[in-house]
Amino acid sequence: MGVEELVASLGDNVLTTTLGKVIGWGRGNSVWPAQFGLACCAIEMIAVATARLDIGRFGSEAMRASPRQADLMIVSGRVSQKMAPILRTVYDQMPEPKWVISMGACASTGGVFNNYALLQGVDKIVPVDVYIPGCPPRPEDLLNALMILQERIKARGIVTQS
């Protein structure tokens, strides 16, 4: 088939775009979260995967048990001083590009627990992309955060390092 014939056979079915947009589109619509539940917020995180809210609509229903397969860490709950190094280990085990959602007041700031036991904000040990307020946030809030993140990923395209 010559080039003219190829072009003729494609007709109008051609889209031109940039590589960055395609990659951003692909990445943004298949964010796989690591299965990493910590405290109360984790229950709402489970709720988001079930029938009523169905995170699968946004391409993120594949909660991966291994951080090696995950793109997104949802820090769902309070992080104690003892858990902090483990959380960082899990984060380090995730391949680039990766994102972090800090779910709930505890993960974001320590929440109602301003004391010796808790890390006062998970952003002290990992870079956070989206913070969700609430204690626990509604599952809808988590979906909203995911959508905000998706928009960012799509806009970022091929560039992953901030």
């Binding site: 405290a39 709402e44 489970i46 709720a47 104690s80 190094p85 483990i86 109602v112 627990f113």
Partner: protein, 406 residues
């Protein structure tokens, strides 16, 4: 900073029964099936479990210490968050303890509302347990079914308290607010439909060959051991001991309800599953009775020194404004002394011990959490089982790590 656990398999040098060497394997704390951040150090002979040592504290939140810094009425908020699958039951234990020290008796309507919230919570807690345990043993659809009904309970919570999970609904002196007519309608519908849903769960699990193969005979805990280890709740009743605080040490008017204590003599994971199913049916029964008998009247004690005056009064009475101001700036005082109250949560005896020195803040608050004590039985249940059964056994203990570590 504490180091990350690191190496996950080490050799012990001990000789096993199968000609091999015992290996120490690290399990968790980030493991998809440990119901939170439980870490176990397991010694394995081949695939057989020889020793289990839980390492806890990965979710230590300092809740008890935190409460010493909060006023009595602020403490309620924190009690929600230790056993996060049964917030109103935690509230109830704390509220009853404070009321015991203050010598306060809440009005009948509040009593019934408290029972309603406790039973709804028991249901939602068992639903979460069943959904996640099913998921771990390969019955993925259980999670979908169970969370469908849990969402309804969340809607009920939201309707009555304005919040889905951590309701802080039960407070010393009564409850947060009266029930709305819509709440009662929704609850009535829920109570009518729930037995059908429980049948549905049973269809999926009770005779399911995989579920039976993975739970029958697994995690045996004879009654004697259960008692010695201090197990309570379904862990104890699954071993044939009919001990339920709602019957044996009634509170909040539970003595007036007609319900049975769920018991199973199987002593294994399957038996505990049956106990939880039965408890869900009984909870629905209690809810029906509570709905039918809900009396009219106030839902809070009429004590301006303890609870704020109603909004209307603030506009006309100077005294009410002063009470309001005093309550929200320094709170109320509780007479010096100590009190222990235990209530039955979905996991067992949920106790609250408070010490007051007569000021606006507690001197000490201690929670006797069921999960923490039940966790002790883990080794007894897991001994000589295959490592794959560990998943079923952790699931059956139904520990909430927030409750273990506090």
């Amino acid at each position: 900073m504490i180091e990350s656990p690191g190496v996950t398999v080490t050799r012990t040098g001990e000789q096993g029964a199968f000609g091999g060497e015992l290996l120490t394997v690290n399990f968790g704390p980030h493991h998809p099936s440990t119901h939170g951040v439980l870490r176990l150090i397991v010694d394995l002979d081949g695939e057989q479990i020889k020793r289990v040592q839980p390492v806890i504290g990965y979710l230590h939140t300092g809740i008890e210490k935190q409460m010493e810094a909060l006023r009595w009425q602020q403490g309620v908020v924190v009690t929600d968050r230790h056993d996060y699958l049964s917030p109103p039951i935690n509230n109830l234990a704390y509220a009853l303890a404070v009321e015991k020290l203050m010598g306060v008796e809440v009005p009948p309507r509040a009593q019934v509302l408290r029972v309603i919230m406790s039973e709804l919570t028991r249901l939602s807690s068992h639903l979460v347990w069943m959904g996640t345990s099913g998921l771990e043993l390969g019955a993925m659809s259980m999670l979908m079914y169970c969370f469908r009904e849990r969402e309804q309970i969340m809607d009920l919570n939201e309707e009555i308290s304005g919040f889905r999970m951590h309701t802080s609904y039960i407070r010393p002196g009564g409850v947060f607010a009266d029930s709305t007519p819509r709440f009662l309608e929704m609850l009535d519908k829920f109570v009518r439909e729930m037995p059908g849903h429980i049948d549905e769960y049973e269809d999926l699990l009770t005779m399911n060959p995989i579920w039976r193969a993975r739970t029958i005979g697994i995690g045996r805990l004879p009654a004697e051991d259960a008692k010695v280890l201090g197990a309570t709740g379904p862990m104890l009743r699954g071993s044939g001991v009919a001990w339920d605080l709602r019957k044996s040490m009634p509170y909040s008017g539970y003595e007036d309800y007609d319900f049975e204590v769920a018991v199973s003599n199987d002593c294994d994971c399957y038996g505990r599953y049956l106990v939880r199913i039965k408890e869900m049916r009984e909870a629905v029964k209690i809810l029906r009775q509570a709905l039918d008998r809900l009396p009219d009247g106030p839902v809070n004690v009429d004590d301006r020194k303890m609870l704020p005056p109603p909004r209307e009064e603030l506009e006309t009475s100077m005294e009410a404004v002063i009470h309001h101001f005093k309550l929200f700036t320094e709170g109320y005082t509780v007479p010096a002394g100590d009190a222990y109250v235990a209530v039955e949560s979905g996991r067992g005896e949920n106790g609250c011990y408070i010490v007051s020195d007569g000021t606006h803040k507690p001197r000490r608050v201690k929670f006797r959490s069921a999960s923490f004590v039940n966790l002790q039985a883990l080794e007894r249940m897991a001994l000589n089982h295959m490592v794959a059964d560990m998943i079923a056994i952790i699931g059956t203990a139904d520990t909430v790590l927030g409750d273990v570590d506090r």
